[in-house]
Amino acid sequence: MKKPSSAATALFITAAMALAACFGGSSGTTGAGGTVPAGCIEVPAAVSSEKVTLLTGLAESFNATNPEFDGACVAVTIQRVASGLAAQLLAAGWPEDGSAGPQPVLWSPASTAWGAVVNQRLSEAGQPGIANDSQRIMITPLVLAMPEPMAEALGWPETDIGWADILALAENPEGWGSVGHPEWGAFKLGKTNPNFSTSGLSATAAIYYAATGKTADLTLDDIADPAVQEFVRGVEAATVHYGDTTLTFLDNMYREDQAGRSLTYASAIAVEEVSVIAFNRGDPADTGDPGPAPNIQLVAVYPKEGTLYSDNPAYILDAPWVDDIQRQAAEAFREFVVDDTANQERVLEFGFRPGNPAVPLGDPITAANGLNPSKPDTELAVPEPAVLSALLADWEDNRKTARVIMLLDVSGSMSDLGGEGLSKLELAKDAVVSSLDEFNDRDEVGLWVFATQLDGDRDYIELIPPAPLSTIRDDLESTIQSLVAGGGTGLYDSTQAAVEAVRDSYDSTKINAVLLMTDGMCDDDPPGCDIDPLLDFLSSSERDPIRVFPVAYGEDADVEALGAIADASRAHLYLATDPLTIERVFQQVISNF
């Protein structure tokens, strides 16, 4: 179990979601989109990442009509804010100083569950709810995105596939060989961390439902049922790694596809239906700038046991900072988006199912794109908050655990000032220690540091070998706090050594990984700074790679090299270019384990 900081809040809706809020997805908060003409009133909208491009375009169209209310011109601006982060900010009153972006008038998270989170947390603080007035913009169901040949090997599209089939395949020692494809290895599931991601939460709830055979009214007794827990454990055991965003999986899958290796990266990824369309367009991040179409497209499997929808509400907030003109403008913008059928057709073009029932489903929600507009056959009910809370706590006990070496840069540059009067190393030490709570106590964690010539000619040194966190926590914390900076940056040989160490003791029942944090560029003696041998080494094992999750710390970090390391090991690069963000970024990284 995690330490109390993660489990302290009794209800999931204030615990798991609060975690999500704290760490908020990879996107966090980014600057407002759209300009506000001089003299006009800004109507800020905070929206979750998957619909930023869509709503930015619609806001531009709306603003082009020169809307006025009570004689004042207005302009809607769009700001990307992860649902969980927005929920936390709103529950806390959203800072007036703009540090989290402008205080929103309109808020569109991925799911109405987040609105319930905000209202419940405000209620607990004795305040009235502010997420009351909502209208649905669009919907999209959670699906299992599978490479088409793999789905076909399971009988798709004639045969319905569900979580039980995945469990059977995951537990079969022959893996894909049991259905005639030994070359695909074991079944591998991509699934985000339910404490961080709406998709992950929906998938986790769906797995528990599948274990019970129910479609609604999941109970605490269901969660505690040993047979249910065994089912959950079995499915989770197939997980490649977790993480805060489905984009990590989709990006990696696309990159592997372009290299002709997608069938060994992941067998299925739990994502929203809209993500399948984006992937098949060659634009997994939905940037609007697609690359080549994938060689092997993904198809959407709608789990036969049922699934949940993301319902993408647009709330006009009953918040004290919202004035009457802004409210009127937000209502008009929401009408513009939802009631205008032409704009709902734009919603469909982006791959969402329109929230306005007057707009029929059509392209791109088609069989040609691997989708079935008449699915899902069964919709699952969102569990009650107390059940969700129990479910999340139980998931912590049954999820796949990790075996991770934390490889930390202690080179001289880490003594540079990071912010708030503290060095980068001091900030990092505090971040790492506080982030240990995000590991599971059963996770095996080790600590290495690197600079140059820390142990004879070696640039790295093992301070604590991997062991269950519960047994080494105190030692780990005190060792981290005692770190001092000095020397150069022997980045590549240290990384390779850490990966070799994990590989030598590879445990197929765990997520095997290296967490690499560095603030600089490799400055080792030649040929130590030739990255190619390291990249070759990292990519040399397709089936069971040791994933390296780099954190680029500070503005001098070699983002390009670290990105290449992440790509080669099929992991994900995290950016903490502002040292003051290191704690939040560390927590995001650890969400993978």
């Binding site: 009631d339 199912r353 056959d377 069964t378």
Partner: protein, 308 residues
């Protein structure tokens, strides 16, 4: 109750009605079903709750008014509102009416009709939550799930609950109501967006009529059935300040518009409906209006069943 042959006839009629609505919506000057329109200069704004989208889009097109959604509150300048009486000032005038009706997914209606010898509220209440497999349907349909709108919020929703309550729902009834929405307009919209949430809904006929075409285009056909008797809810109309609103109100109350209400999903205050509503079938006879005591009792019953 609707007998088997009558159910088949209704199904045929509904098919014709769907085509008729499709034609109406696609006629050259159609505004679409829910589009927000800008008024000509000086024209008023017609605001209605979502349940009356179909009717109000059509009325607005007839009189050249803009459309807005009415969610309660003050009737603003230049605006005319059509809504249930309780939502409007006392000065509001009677405008149209609607009975309670039942909508069932076309694929499942014959099985249910066969089970009950027709489809009515008692049939739904009695079989709610039962496995479709036991009712003669496909096991893949799961169990019979129903949809209702919040009876504490609207008169037509309270009248729907009146029928359910009168049928003596068992203790487990709430579990079978898989779709509960704030109002009848949202209920029908949710049904179209999330078709597996409910196999049948009991709601206002106007709200059902407003989603028949959308259901057909998006998900599948809905069949409409009527209780043998039900409450009929009156919609009223009121103008906000300003000459534009006065003019719009006058236009809406003109006899010519009353004559086309039936084609827009509403029933005129007196006389028979024509067009769409005529094709949907014969509603049940009107029950006496609920007394305040009966309303309180039904609201308490609703709250006991579903919680506060």
């Amino acid at each position: 109750m609707v007998s088997g042959w009558r159910a088949a006839l209704v199904a045929v009629l509904v098919g014709g009605v769907v085509l008729a609505i499709g034609w109406w919506l696609n006629r050259p000057d159609s505004p679409g079903t829910t589009g927000t329109t800008d008024p000509p200069a000086g024209a008023g704004v017609l605001a209605c709750p979502p349940a009356l989208d179909l009717a109000c889009d059509g009325l607005a097109a007839e009189v050249g008014a803009a459309r807005r959604t009415y969610t309660g509150g003050e009737v603003t300048e230049g605006t005319v509102v059509i809504a249930e009486a309780a939502a409007l000032p006392e000065a509001a005038e009677p405008f149209a009416r609607t009975p309670v009706a039942i909508a069932v997914w076309h694929e499942k209606a014959p099985t249910l009709s066969e089970t009950c010898g027709g489809i009515d509220v008692a049939c739904l209440v009695e079989n709610a939550g039962r496995a479709w497999n036991d009712l003669g349907g496909s096991a893949s349909w799961g169990s019979l799930g129903l949809g209702l709108a919040d009876a504490t919020q609207g008169a037509v929703d309270l009248d729907a609950w009146r029928l359910v309550d009168g049928a003596g729902p068992p203790a487990s009834f709430a579990d079978a109501v898989r779709l509960r929405s704030a109002d009848d307009g949202t209920l029908l919209s949710d049904l179209v967006l999330f078709p597996t949430r409910a196999d049948a809904v009991i709601s206002g006929e106007a709200a059902i009529a407003g989603q028949l075409v959308n259901a057909q285009n998006r998900t599948g056909r809905l069949d409409v059935f009527y209780p043998t008797a039900s409450g009929w809810v009156e919609y009223r109309v009121v103008a906000g300040p300003g000459r534009a609103a006065d003019r719009l109100l006058s236009d809406l109350l003109a006899p010519e518009l009353q004559a086309v209400l039936g084609s827009l999903g509403l029933r005129p205050l007196d006389g028979e409906a024509t067009g769409l509503m005529q094709g949907l079938g014969q509603p049940g006879t009107p029950l006496p209006a609920l007394t305040d005591a009966e309303k309180d009792s039904l609201i308490a019953s609703w709250t006991n069943t579903f919680g506060g």
